[in-house]
């Protein structure tokens, strides 16, 4: 009986550890985008320390807006523009205005590069290209 109990504990411990790893993995791309933008903006260490938490908040809100407004292209556009205007004000308090204005340019650049990288890989491997959300094309 004890043996079965120990095996069960080990099994669930392993599952929990893997689940934790996967949970950590989900935020990697967010952190990479953060690093990329910081690098492109040439932020100092002090600026980067202030920028990171604000950007992570922005990223989460961005995803939430996208999730909640997937079916309405115009509303999605408006809400994301509102979000960016709001966060641009915050970024201007961390860095000078020209660089604060470029945060979203580099964000889009990063997104575009990821799309290209994925499509290049898929072309080479003969996979299907990324599917657009049909509702956005309507």
């Amino acid at each position: 009986m004890k043996t079965y109990f120990i095996i069960l504990i080990l099994f669930f411990t392993g599952l929990a550890a893997r689940a934790q790893d996967e949970g950590d993995d989900k935020g990697k791309i967010r952190d990479r985008m953060n690093e990329y933008i910081q690098d492109r903006l040439g932020l100092s260490k002090r600026e980067a320390e202030k920028f990171s938490p604000v950007f992570l908040r922005y990223f989460q809100e961005f995803r939430q807006i996208r999730r909640e407004n997937r079916t309405d292209n115009l509303v999605l556009k408006q809400k994301i523009i509102d979000l960016r205007i709001r966060y641009r004000t915050e970024f201007r308090q961390i860095m000078d205005e020209p660089r604060a204005n470029k945060v979203f340019v580099y964000e889009d650049e990063f997104r575009r590069k990821v799309i290209q990288m994925l499509e290049t890989r898929k072309d080479r491997l003969g996979e299907k290209p990324l599917q657009r959300n049909r509702s956005l094309l309507q």
Binding site: K2, I29, R111, R112, M117, T120, D123, L130
Partner: protein
């Protein structure tokens, strides 16, 4: 020598002390030679002092302290407000006074006189932990669990991202060529005209090499999700 400031100050105050130049606190020469004998002779010659009794004034009659405590207690007992300790306790706390005053930690009479420490003659049995059956099973289960988890992780890694594996293998092979010295060159080389679609992308001037390196440890699932998200909003959001 007196301080001039002090003399000036005394003079300003109208005092004659400033005019005194010699030390007034002095005695004639040889004053203290024979002073003690002179003083004793004076005391002995004095009638008042010689008439005082020579006994110590602070003394008590013989046996005074032998009965003192009993006398004090007798005076206390005669007082109208006197109570014994039992009566006082009963009046203050009836509950406490009702508790028995016998000591609770007592042993039978002569217990320690007859006490001999007992020695257990029986030898304690030594039981090896490894001899237990369940322990061996537990060790086996731990080892099996570790192997199982390692296998699962390795298996998932093998099947997680075949595209990146293939690309990594391809890059490794191509890097051996001297012309392709860095990953950047390799990506340029690979992107330069595989098909029209990729040519069109290169014309935008955006290179993907730095991002590719940055994202090398990101899982394919997360990349795909992010790619789809970015694709969805590309038409809406791209600022330039």
């Amino acid at each position: 020598m007196p301080n001039k400031d002090i003399i000036q100050e005394l003079s300003d105050l109208g005092s004659n002390l400033g005019n005194i130049s010699k030390n007034i606190y002095s005695v004639p020469p040889g004053y203290f030679d024979g002073f003690s004998e002179q003083l004793l002779g004076f005391i002995k010659a004095s009638e008042t002092l010689s008439s005082l009794p020579k006994e110590m004034p602070f003394n008590v009659p013989a046996g005074y302290f032998d009965q003192l405590d009993e006398k004090i207690m007798e005076i206390i007992r005669r007082h109208p407000d006197y109570q014994t300790s039992q009566e006082e306790l009963e009046s203050i706390s009836p509950l406490l006074s009702s508790i028995s005053k016998r000591p609770v930690y007592s042993v039978p009479g002569g217990y320690f006189e007859n006490f001999t420490p007992g020695v257990d003659e029986k030898r304690t049995r030594v039981v090896s932990i490894t001899a237990r059956k369940w322990f061996r099973y537990a060790v086996a289960a731990v080892i099996a669990g570790v192997i199982l988890m390692a296998g699962l992780i390795a298996f998932n890694n093998d099947h997680k991202d075949p595209a990146s594996k293939t690309l990594a293998k391809f890059e490794k092979e191509v890097k051996k060529i001297n012309d392709v010295k860095s990953t950047e060159n390799l990506i340029d080389f690979m992107d330069a005209g595989l098909n029209e679609k990729e040519l069109a992308r290169n014309n935008t001037g955006v290179k993907i090499d730095d991002v590719q390196l940055l994202l090398k440890d990101v899982s394919m699932d997360e990349l795909k999700d992010f790619g789809e998200e970015s694709k969805d909003i590309e038409d809406v959001m791209m600022t330039n």
